[in-house]
């Protein structure tokens, strides 16, 4: 095998891997028989394992205000109310593409994930739910008691 054909083989494999990645990131993985197993496994791991970082909401809103001011000065409308809408809550979930992806998200340095959110929701639900047994009611009453 010549150096030239080796490089061409590498380019062909790069093209095959690229097509696989395209399908993987579209959440519709194609047939993987022509993708080397170690590359497929690594790609799968990277596609779900690398976290996304989200700025803190405070930073996001403060920057929005500064941009509004800058936009106002650009149009000569300083002092007028500019419609820089407050952030929409639905934009701040653990996923940003609405395709059900489960990927860690770090908001201002705090890790979240769909699983952790579910665990937190379950804890909140458990705490808010009246216990059935008298013994559990007593335990919770003691736990809620503040020592003065």
């Amino acid at each position: 095998m010549t150096v030239g054909s080796s490089a061409r083989d590498g380019e062909i494999e790069a093209l095959v891997v690229d097509r696989y990645l395209e399908s993987l990131l579209a959440r519709a993985p194609r047939d993987t028989t022509d993708v080397p197993e170690d590359l497929r496994a690594t790609a799968d791991r990277l596609a779900t394992g690398l976290p996304r970082y989200h700025p803190s909401f405070r930073f996001e809103d403060e920057l929005a205000a500064r941009l509004a001011l800058a936009a106002g000065s650009a149009t000569g409308t300083i002092g007028e109310v500019i419609d820089f809408r407050p952030p929409r809550t639905r934009d701040r979930g653990a996923t940003d593409d609405g395709r059900g992806q489960v990927r860690p998200v770090v908001v201002g340095g705090v890790v979240t994930s769909a699983a952790i959110s579910l665990a937190a929701a379950w804890m909140a639900w458990r705490r808010g739910r009246p216990p059935g047994e008298p013994r559990m009611r007593a335990v919770r009453a003691v736990a809620r008691t503040r020592i003065v």
Partner: protein, 183 residues
Amino acid sequence: MDAARADPARFDALYRKYVAQVYNYAVYELGDHHEAEDATERTFLSALAGLPRFEERALPEDGEGASTFRIWLFRIARNVVNERRRRWRRRPEAPLDLAFTAPDPTDIEHAVVERESAMSAWRAVDRLGGDRRRAVILRFVHEMSTAEIAAILGRSEGAVRVLIHRGLRGVARDLRDRREGRA
């Protein structure tokens, strides 16, 4: 896009759409949340100032709503990050373990195992360095197409495909070596 160019006050919609992506890019590049916030701010202020000069390169056949704005914005972000790097020579390729050291009061065993796996994968990516690392991050974290990455990095699509392919090979080899105790 056109609305924002005609009236800078309409820039808000673009800002809300892309702020997390730009910040995320900056965190991966700079390895520090505060530096990333600063880079994000500079990027959007530059974008707002340069908006009248933005040229839409998307063609009608690219589909309805297609825009090259994200590429343009990421090129600004890349320049801002590079400028910060030049002034911040102590740590040109900052290690990033931020996500993995953050406190998590509701952690469970499964999450710990997943986090360990993600951490080792991330460290392998981080060891790639340069544009190979950058291309892998843009592909897997930002889920950009090869064409978008090529436009941002100023390379051909073929070169980006090869960068990602070699990057994946490098990560796979790194993970295997560490699993087998050779690294």
